[in-house]
């Protein structure tokens, strides 16, 4: 299973995580890989956690073993911390730094952690930590709805990503409405550049 790649994607309901994952999965299929994907989104519309797991390569199951993800793409900063049981020292952690604070935070014992500190701890522990302000990039592109395409662009910018940028873009085009292709293409490019600049 050397020629394989595991991607864990996490965030909050409504951020476009499933669509992003399907785009990657179809791109993998079109490149001739076997691919399986797991999505958990039972109560996602109600502000819950959404996560997907993509296994590209000769697998039967769609669940990534602990500490075996090649890439974790986080749409929200505490959700990437929650997914670290999938990470090892070589895992690429690419994540949006904009918090979505749980709405019942005041009923909870734990406060939302300090973002700067969170990023610093991740950087200390994981060599390939790429925090980006995806919300800002999406707004610069023209709309916050392109957030997921910004993060998709960031994901494919890491140098060991298994699929080509070209097939990702083709897959995006067959999954999203053509009126938004230009904007989404822009978002992918901007997300791509953001990580290239850090990395």
């Amino acid at each position: 299973m050397d020629d394989s790649y595991n991607i864990f994607i996490c965030g909050v309901g409504g951020q476009g995580i499933i669509k992003t994952s399907v785009i990657i999965g179809e791109a993998a299929m079109n490149e001739g890989y076997n691919v399986s994907m797991s999505e958990i989104h039972g109560m996602s519309q109600r502000g819950g956690i959404v996560s997907t797991e993509l296994k590209i390569g000769d697998y039967k199951s769609s669940v990534i073993e602990s500490h075996c993800a090649n890439l974790i793409l986080g749409f929200e900063p505490i959700e990437i911390v929650r997914s670290l049981n999938k990470a090892n020292n070589d895992t690429k952690l690419i994540f949006n730094i904009r918090p979505i604070v749980p709405s019942n935070i005041n009923s909870q014992t734990n406060d939302y952690p300090n973002i700067e500190k969170l990023i610093a701890i991740l950087k200390d522990n994981y060599e390939y930590t790429f925090p980006i302000d995806a919300n800002k990039i999406a707004e610069d592109v023209g709309s916050i709805v392109t957030l997921n395409m910004v993060l998709l662009g960031s994901a494919i910018a890491n140098n060991d990503f298994i699929l080509s940028k070209k097939s990702i873009i083709e897959s995006m085009k067959s999954n999203l409405r053509s009126t938004f292709h230009e904007m989404n293409l822009n978002a992918i490019e901007m997300g791509y550049e953001a990580v290239k600049n850090i990395g």
Partner: protein
């Protein structure tokens, strides 16, 4: 992928969700009728039929509940049509009464029942294993492991059903229904009638159906193929005289089907002991568990043969005996109940074989929750470590594959038996039924502290949800009546409103099943002197709340029934229900007014309120709680996901008036309001303009923004 590909594509590969593959399978099989009541993890199947049924010449409906859905397809199948119903696992409980009978009466056209189980309860009240239903009803079970198999097994299910004139269960789990994978799609079968298919075990159903003519004569709006019901009381009326015969035939059929299961390709052996060195350990498995077993066996190079059960009931005993003939020990890996394991143990006992079984019953595999690769690896290693511990000496190597190799080449049967005794003797305290493993990764302290201190992210009511406003008003009414919270019982039901369990609402004290809030209310109001308030959604009320409301009124109960009418079946993603003027395929349909039902039942206190009007809502609840008898409140306010919902107002906070009491944050838990730099802040992009916060703010600091 475009959805239309599900009906237009032919002979190509698509990246499909398990539920999409189920739809494609049914369409390829040429079904004429489909029905469901929505329920996760099967909901997407209905959503897809909702859009695609008409173009595929399929009659589709969201039935009022799963029992009706079962009856709709049973009748269609009795009329010679291929028909398909699908539901979440607990839905089959509701449908089971009719399901048990249709196993007796049988079918003419093929009938497939897909049950989507939910191990680990991602969105369910239990994780019951519906393979048990196959044993109760005596119907065959197919267990897919991935989307391709869902498609293939749905199609084969119809063939098998027609061959034996029996309904067939396809049992998925969340992990399979919500798995995406590459599916090779075939051609669509455009012939929608199947009562003349070959392989009939009897020849009673050879009637010729002239469906086109009938359908065009009856109704020009009919786009599906019609069948024809031929009277045959001996087949279709299970009165005792007939049922005695039917049960005999059913048992006969199941024995015949076992012969097919024994040689069916869905039951497949994966050989990993090519050089016969690891030969006498094996694994028998099904569903998702197979995927994990396969990946672990390959990755860890274990050399264990795998027997994958896809056609799992009736249990293929001959094929299994063939599999274990050279085995001294087998693992049984299955989610959730030890069902295969018990079949396996029975066969081993019957033939008095020296084969040791490692499964759930001797604590090797967890008894609850879904599996994953780590759990499967843990369970396998537990046995390998155990073998080591009872004195089998492997001094030359520690690798697991070598261990297995050694075992195979000379393990003593009695030693393995001792090992089982050891697992069985594990004290209850040390026994971990979840199989969860310690994350032994070496996190440094700072990182570990961060991971441990993360706030939770429970699902919550959306910004602008009417349930929040209702619950807030209820709590206030209780407070204003000076009733202690401990003297109030909130009986809840199955839907978004169950989220009232969480702080700050805490309006769910008891919940059993669909419609149960009203039945529970009857019980609590008789059994206690506490004030009882039941909450049920509109769709759930239609599903199974009407009968208990009749019970409540007739038996002179005394409690408040709130029907949270948000004009949609919200929890499952927004399907229509009989309370709205649209049917399952988007056509106009008669709307059934809940208020008329309540009045017709004879409730003397019936009010429709708009929960967003806080003052009126609080007053109505005070009146209802004091009312002696059954009071019905219909809290009518559309879900924010109902189409055409427009944002009504924008809010702003006047910080000159704001006293930083944070009641708006602490009492509403609205996703649009948060505390930033010690101030309440409204996120205008998240706010839906419901005005609940405006009305509850004691210092009148939150206001509707004047449009500029």
């Amino acid at each position: 992928m475009e959805l239309k590909k599900l009906i237009s594509g032919n002979n190509e590969n698509l990246f499909l969700l398990g539920n999409e593959a189920a739809v494609r399978g049914a369409i390829e099989a040429g079904i004429s009728v489909a029905s469901t009541y929505p329920g996760t993890p099967s909901s997407e199947i209905g959503d897809l039929f909702s859009v695609l049924a008409k173009d595929s010449n399929i009659y589709f409906e969201f039935s009022v509940n799963e029992k009706v859905a079962m009856e709709v397809v049973a009748a269609a199948a009795a009329s010679g049509l291929r028909s398909f119903t699908f539901m979440k696992h607990v839905g089959l409980n509701v449908a089971s009464d009719s399901f048990m009978s249709v196993a007796y009466t049988g079918v003419k056209g093929g009938m497939v029942v897909l049950t989507a189980d939910d191990p680990s309860m991602f969105s369910s009240q239990n994780e019951q294993d519906n393979r048990n239903y196959a044993r109760i009803a005596n119907v065959p079970v197919l267990e897919p492991s991935n989307p391709q198999e869902i498609k293939d097994m749905v199609i084969y299910g119809f063939e098998l059903s027609e061959m034996f004139k029996l309904p067939v269960i396809v049992r998925t789990t969340t992990r399979v229904s919500h798995m995406r994978g590459i599916v090779e799609i075939g051609e669509i079968n455009i012939n929608n009638t199947h009562s003349n298919t070959n392989n009939n075990i009897n020849n009673t159903n050879t009637d010729n159906i002239n469906n086109k003519e009938i359908s065009s004569n009856v109704d020009s709006n009919v786009y599906w193929t019609k069948g024809r019901f031929e009277k045959n009381p001996k087949q279709f009326i299970p009165v005792p005289e007939n049922a005695l015969v039917m049960h005999k035939e059913l048992v006969f059929k199941i024995n015949k089907i076992e012969e097919i299961a024994n040689r069916h390709e869905f039951n497949k052996i994966f050989k990993f002991n090519e050089n016969n060195s690891y030969g006498n350990f094996g694994v028998i498995t099904s569903g998702s568990a197979f995927n994990y077993v396969y990946d672990v066996v390959v990755k860890d190079n274990l050399g264990l043969d795998i027997f994958k059960l896809g056609f799992s009931y009736p249990f293929p005993r001959k094929a299994f005996l063939e599999f274990i003939k050279d085995k001294s020990a087998i693992f049984v890996a299955e989610e959730v109940d030890p069902i295969i394991e018990k079949d396996v143990l029975a066969i081993i006992a019957e033939f008095n074989l020296n084969v040791v079984v490692f499964g759930k019953l001797n604590n090797v595999f967890p008894l609850i929750y879904e599996f994953n690769p780590d759990i499967v690896r843990n369970s396998l290693n537990k046995v390998f470590a155990g073998i080591k511990s009872i004195g089998v000496n492997f001094t030359d190597s520690n690798s697991t594959s070598d261990l297995v190799n050694k075992c195979s080449s000379g393990i003593d049967f009695n030693l393995l038996k001792n090992l089982i005794a050891k697992f069985n003797n594990e004290s209850y305290d040390s026994f971990n039924p979840t199989g969860s493993y310690e994350d032994t990764w070496n996190y440094n302290k700072e990182l570990n502290d961060l991971i441990e201190s993360l706030p939770l992210r429970p699902p919550t009511f959306c910004a602008g949800c009417g349930h929040r406003a209702t619950y807030f008003a209820v709590k206030r009414a209780v407070e204003e009546l000076d009733i202690a919270e401990k003297d109030v019982i909130y009986a809840s039901d199955i839907g978004c409103y169950t989220l009232g369990i969480n702080p700050p609402y805490e309006t769910a004290d008891y919940s059993l099943s669909m419609g149960a809030s009203i039945g529970d209310g009857c019980g609590f109001s008789k059994a206690t002197n506490q004030k009882v308030l039941s909450f049920i959604g509109d769709s759930t009320f239609f599903h199974s709340g009407v009968s208990p409301l009749i019970n409540a009124v007739h038996n002179k109960s005394n409690f408040v029934v709130t029907i949270l009418d948000n004009r949609i079946t919200a929890m499952t993603g927004g399907q229509p229900n009989p309370g709205v003027p649209v049917d399952g395929v988007g056509d106009d349909a008669p709307e059934i007014p809940i208020v008329d039902i309540a009045i017709a039942i004879g409730a003397k206190f019936v009010r429709i309120i708009n929960p967003i009007n806080m003052k009126k809502t609080v007053e109505t609840y005070k009146e209802a709680i004091e009312f002696d008898g059954v009071s019905v409140i219909i809290a009518k306010y559309p879900c924010v996901f109902v189409k055409s919902q427009k944002k009504k107002y924008s809010m702003e906070i006047d910080y000159n008036k704001c006293t930083d009491c944070f009641d708006c944050v602490n009492l509403l838990a609205c996703p649009a309001i948060s505390i930033i730099s010690n101030k309440s802040v409204i996120d205008s992009s998240a706010c839906r303009g419901c005005t609940t916060c405006v009305q509850m703010c004691k210092s009148k600091a939150i206001k509707v923004k004047r449009s500029s």
